[in-house]
């Protein structure tokens, strides 16, 4: 080894025509095997360090928790009294309550705030849900190609109690969900809650009658089409009203009589769109966590 290296060096220096240092290349000595007691000591020290870390962590955590709770409770004691008319109740809230029905045509003021005054936020929320379900799809999807079957869940399909009660309950759940969805501008409810109820109904169908039955209702294609179409409709509709509203143009969409089912302009179709997105999202997440495919 050593002679070969020196040989190469001399050849190189002859070729380059100047003198490389021709010092002796020292033989590399193999490292001495460590004494066994030393590694044992290292392990001991690591364990000790871990214990110290844990103790410090616990102390700091207790300190942080107590400080946080104390700060929060002190703030609560300095806040205006519960249930009394506070000062912040005068400007924005006053406007919403006094003119909300007149401007937007809704009876349920919260629905008017969500889908008319703060519709941009609600669009963002729908996209947050969409992103979440996309991430879950990316993380948990199991195609035939990857070939790994998920750990089997306990199969409760065809359970007599579940299936016979689902036969009675599923129609009621769907009717209730559609009612909540369509009456969002008239009564408590709206797109998010109605969609969640519909998604729960789909989950019950899937677990009681088997995945084939619910898979016939919502295939992957239906899922993609409905979600994308609903979000696109929301975007286009709200862009239109924002554009016309900002430029002072008439929208051409009347508010109707407050209290009628066909009133409040775009709020009813927007509620339906949001409800579709939420129902598909809830069901899609259930399927991803269960089987890993639609």
């Amino acid at each position: 080894m050593k002679t070969m290296k020196n040989d190469i060096k001399s050849k190189l220096s002859a070729w380059l025509n100047f003198d490389l240092d021709l010092d002796e290349v020292p033989e590399r000595t193999p490292p001495k095997p460590k004494a066994p007691h030393r590694s044992k000591l290292l392990i001991l020290r690591r364990i000790q360090n871990e214990r110290v870390h844990r103790a410090v962590y616990a102390l700091l955590a207790v300190f942080c928790s107590i400080t946080l709770a104390a700060c929060l409770l002190l703030t609560v004691s300095g806040m205006p009294r519960y249930g009394e008319d506070a000062e912040f109740m005068d400007t924005v809230t006053y406007e919403y309550l006094a003119h909300g029905m007149e401007y937007t045509g809704v009876v349920n003021i919260v629905s008017g705030i969500i889908l008319e005054y703060r519709a941009f936020d609600t669009l963002g929320e729908s996209f947050v849900l969409f992103c979440a379900v996309s991430c879950v799809l990316l993380l948990l999807r199991r195609d035939g190609a990857s070939g790994k079957e998920p750990p089997a869940m306990r199969d409760i399909t065809g359970d007599p109690i579940l299936s016979s009660s689902a036969r009675i309950l599923v129609p009621l759940i769907f009717v209730f969900g559609i009612y909540v969805l369509l009456n969002g501008h008239l009564s408590p409810g709206g797109g998010f809650s109605g969609g969640a109820v519909l998604g729960a109904g789909l989950i019950i169908i899937s677990s009681a009658f088997g995945e084939d039955v619910s898979g016939r209702i919502i295939t992957e294609r239906v899922f993609k089409t409905v979600t994308t179409a609903a979000l696109l409709f929301y975007c286009v509709g709200k862009s239109y009203t924002f554009f016309t509203g900002a430029n002072g143009l008439p929208t051409g969409i009347g508010n109707g009589t407050p209290g009628d089912i066909l009133s409040a302009g775009l709020i009813l179709p927007l509620n339906i769109a949001v409800g579709m997105v939420v129902a598909c999202t809830v069901y899609g997440m259930y399927r991803m966590f269960g089987k890993g495919r639609f």
């Binding site: 004691s77 249930g83 109740m89 991803m288």
Partner: protein, 126 residues
């Protein structure tokens, strides 16, 4: 010192719930328990917001009989904020659960200490 502490018991309970969730997040090593702690924190925030909007002897902000007098209804703004919060917390919970499933598939444990030890051993091995 403790001015309105007795009267604001509902907010106090909500923030205690928030602190319980925080403690769960700090002291538990299991991913699923941490997630449950985060959801408890979210619930505390919803309760806090809902109790902020409440006013005695007033009705829910759904116009009845055409009465649009703002002094008849409770504050509708916290309700819509809570809706936003619920949607975001559902999304975050779903993504975190999916990540926990993938972690379990890789390390066959949900204990964060063990996962850290295993991942360190793997990088050392490499």
């Amino acid at each position: 010192m403790l001015g309105n502490f007795i009267h604001n018991y509902e907010e106090a309970v909500a923030l205690l719930l928030f602190s319980i969730g925080f403690v769960t997040l700090l002291f538990h090593r299991n991913m699923i328990r941490k997630l449950i702690g985060m959801n408890i924190m979210d619930s505390g925030i919803y309760l806090f917001l809902a109790s902020l909007g409440y006013i005695y002897d007033r009705r829910a902000p759904i116009v009845e009989d055409g009465i649009t007098d703002p002094s008849k209804y409770v504050n509708p703004v916290p309700a819509s904020l809570v809706l936003t919060g619920i949607v975001v917390s559902v999304s975050v919970t779903a993504v975190m659960l999916a990540l926990a499933v993938r972690l379990y598939e890789r390390y066959h444990t949900l204990n964060l200490d063990e996962i850290y030890e295993l991942s360190r051993r793997r990088t050392e091995h490499r």
